[in-house]
Symmetry: D2
Subunit: 342 residues, 4 copies
């Protein structure tokens, strides 16, 4: 029997993406959709592209009967998420897609997000949701904190290399090219079509992007010593896709074979033949990650490019992958759809 | 057991779209992929977005063992298609996505395509592939001729109205807005990004587009007298989607209720509440059709807008819908994926 | 000596476009820039693309010394514009880009805009700003009301035909395809990149768009009897450009020669050879209008396609063309820049 | 009296961009347009956006009477360019936009372009066309070799820093994001709208892009020792614009003040306030370069972002800037148009 799912924060892009994926997921069934600001509306009003589905209308979080729910996805903005989750039943399985439970250290949280955490006691409980690396803990977790989309892209690129010690840990640069859906459905001047189409720019330059908190936490833990990477995001005129160009010091062939070995059995991560660069075009709308490694004309350097779809593998697809594990389903269930091209 | 499928012409967009859809179709399995010009290559080389699938390499048509095939999709350019299909085993079930078998009258074919048909004897055998209207004949057909993407959009808009006699048959105008993937993967200057992005234009203006042959054939048969519509296509900077704005003379409410009644039981066709206009954004990558009807300030006129995804419902999705029927599968199998938004 | 120009409402797209054009206009010089909501800011902050210019900072309207100004452009939202203009010095030359003074009949204004006009006495004084047709009156006008961008496109298409009596006045359909900058810089969900890119939809369907008020006024005056056209706008994923496909009843060749004759001496309006359709790509960023006329396979009908850049010829370019006349400058001064392609 | 200009290779994007700019250049007049493959056609046929101009029809190079020409722009593909230029009158002033005369060392040319140079004797004569740094030599040059668009972007970013010795010369990384018009108007699958829109990828990864030849030549000469940078281009879904994110080791404030000083008197190069990142949106269609410098959270590092329009400042605008000098005109003449936004 299909598991009963609630989605809290169903009126944003990641909420809608969860519904898109669950629509053809044989093991899940949407039992409740909450979005306080849109309560009372049908999903067809909020997202007409979901009009063909027989979905419950949107309600407030308070109106959801969580006793009938097997797992809740929380797709709220950060800060709101921690407050809502704090008030949910303590035994409810939750996958949080916000940034609120990604950082385990309250101090680090305060540094990057500028406020005290409202649910400090749950920060420790939460398991970091990068499935490929936290699979065992996720399987038994009650609360999983979905990895940020940029943070996921960078970690798929670097974790095996840091673990294997094949790159210089003090010389890691990630230049990211990010599609606009990652900024959400909120109204902003810089994400208007007329302001974004046909051009691009860097933002949060110089180490200001909050996903650096995740990089610091994860890479340092992995290396057993502080690791700080450089990470510059760029906003691009596209809906979906993150491409991270990683500038590394190390032997390119060793880097490639380390990656191939690390992901050999992963259903969603594909390491391309040496020298072949990946494209965001080839993962759009899917849960796949493509990684390419290339040598550099300057000896001892390599370039690794990693791509994924920020809304799918970078957010809602990853969340379902985690939920599959938490619910005892097959990890890939409902996630093997091919990318959309063109 | 899954039906064995061959795709002839697998190196174009409609071929790739067939593979995308079959990848998650529980009742079909790809047994052979043919594309003469790319024979010897893997699909990952031709379409890297299909890299995660375990697919047979491309071969020439001659190399396919059709005795092991339950149904072949033919996704070749027109003129080529008729010659290839003519040479295939006579009992093989075929869904042709080209224009070659859509027109039943050899004379009409010659008028619109400028050459004699190479397989005249099969023109009569072919069943027109607009599933919603030819369901019974498709179920037992051996050769089904997929409807053109513009022709499908216009027919979903107009067939119920012509059948019901609620519009003036001599005053029908279809203004279509077409995405670029409908022009195929061939190299053309006007479909280069730099030539198409950020602008738009009309083409085949004044009654020159070949899909008019389909409109003439189908609408005249339906009305029992000659019907000639006006149809102007426009090329737009988008990958997928056709939007047809239909200018009609008739009572708007009667038009709306005729449409609602006609499609009440159709799983893929959705008639929106009166006055609500649809958007191609809401059907991208799906097999759905959205139709909206609005009144006009000038009495006795109505505007009907119909949208679908040219590569899915307008081509490969429709083809699979037909194949499902021909193979005794459920008509909607493998086709209920939600649209991709954003 | 260059004329001193003030721009009121300099923080929107039409305000910025005025500055772009005046930047290389030999006969004009920007003396004051007002925008109440952004007062105190530099233009480089509001529009960094104007950073290279030596411009006055933004001030409030009240802070402008209009005694030193030769002509003011008012690029405010409608309703605001009439109140601001009402309070300006009575002898100041003004080109208003809003909708506020386009309709001469207070009743028609109320019908389309839903409120009483705050400056009824000036409605009669204002000259309609479609330069090519009101040149003589504009030359001596004090207040010119810029034509709406859709209204301009439709009038370039139809005025000569209505005047010449070569088309059926009761059977005129304009299907318009509009770029997004026409909706302005305000924050709206439907103009976010993620909501607009890669798709399109109709809006204000059935005779609801306010520019119909201009069509009714102008076409009826021209014909000497009521003329009501059908006009359906569509929002497209592009920054600049309007394309109007006009479905007409009349002789196509007569229509073409009427257009050729009408615009033979116009520097900005180009009628293409018979049968050649224009493209918005070919007028982007310029003050040009391209018009194409094609026959239809149905006798007695014709299709006319008209394109222009909504921000230039449809708004700020037209405004400068009018200002040139009002200031005794050459009509084409500062406006002969070539389109930007690609 | 206006200088008589010939454009050889007028059927490509850089040729068309030259015409766009010369159209409003008071000191230049187009006397001849050559394009062997399109000879006999009018420019309105090849580029309808230039339809308003009174231009000579396209002829073959042989048909041009160069005795009446003051300066010729050569906008041909590389390899073709050197052969055509070799055959031109020896006293004719030429600005070449191809790659053929950028590298002074025949050996370096052979390495990067794979063939022997057909006009070795002229390689030494040619002056490198980065105006801001070769102004004096360009003024008296007969043959100027236009800088590549990526090479220009990188040099505006780095030359002052290398000259001033404020960055580590062995640790320079340029991650470039390039619009598609830089690849030209030729037919390629990867530049089709459907293949490029909505996605992005790296290419020529690892030090394979030919513009590295220019970087090596120029930076090494400047530093007085070999300098080799890393440079990874990415193809983005936009028509115009290059953005280079430069990862540098050095003091960010020193880098910023070095840049400010270097460009203080340059009319086309604008160094933004410290910490402000530039955008390609703000230079589209113009001859401006915007540069931003930001500090990094890792001490001793800085990020510099440089943007320009590849067809204007990166190619045809730069060419006209050079031609202005060679013809004794004001360097900025015809080039001060504001960018097009949005």
């Amino acid at each position: 029997m299909a598991k009963k799912i609630a989605i809290i924060g169903a009126s944003g892009y990641t909420g809608a993406e969860l519904i898109r994926l669950i629509a053809t997921h044989p093991g899940m069934e949407i039992a409740a959709l909450a979005a306080n600001s849109s309560a009372g509306q049908s999903m067809a009003q909020v997202f007409p592209f979901l009009r063909h589905l027989d979905l419950p209308d949107l309600v407030t979080v308070d109106e959801v009967d969580f006793s009938a729910i097997d797992l809740a996805f929380c797709a709220l903005p950060h800060k709101t998420s921690q407050q809502v989750i704090k008030a949910l039943p303590k035994e409810l399985k939750i996958v949080d897609l916000s940034a609120d439970f990604r950082l385990q250290d309250p101090e680090a949280y305060r540094t990057w997000y500028g406020n005290d955490h409202a649910a400090v006691e749950m920060q420790g409980e939460a398991v970091y949701g990068l499935t490929e690396f936290y699979r065992d803990r996720i399987r038994t977790a009650r609360l999983v904190a979905g990895t940020g989309c940029n943070a996921a892209t960078g970690q798929f690129a670097l974790r095996p290399l840091i673990a294997a010690g094949v790159i210089d840990l003090d010389e890691i640069i990630l230049d990211m090219k990010c599609a606009v859906s990652g900024t959400g459905r909120g109204l902003r001047q810089d994400t208007l079509f007329a302001e974004l189409s046909e051009g691009y720019h860097a933002y949060a330059v110089g180490g200001k992007h909050r996903h650096l908190g995740e990089f610091d936490q994860e890479f340092s833990a992995l290396a057993g010593r502080p690791v700080r990477v450089q990470f510059t995001p760029h906003l691009l005129p596209a809906n979906r896709g993150i491409l991270s160009t990683c500038y590394l010091k190390g032997d390119a062939q060793a880097i490639h074979s380390t990656m191939e070995k690390a992901y050999a059995d992963e259903p969603f991560v594909c390491v391309l033949p040496f020298g072949e660069p990946p494209s965001t075009h080839h993962v759009r709308g899917s849960n796949f990650v493509h990684i390419g490694v290339t040598g550099e004309r300057i000896d001892g350097r390599a370039i690794l490019v990693c791509v994924l779809d920020n809304l799918t593998k970078g957010s809602s697809g990853q969340a379902i992958q985690n939920a599959n594990l938490m619910l005892g389903l097959d990890e890939t269930e409902g996630l093997m759809m091919a990318p959309l091209f063109p």
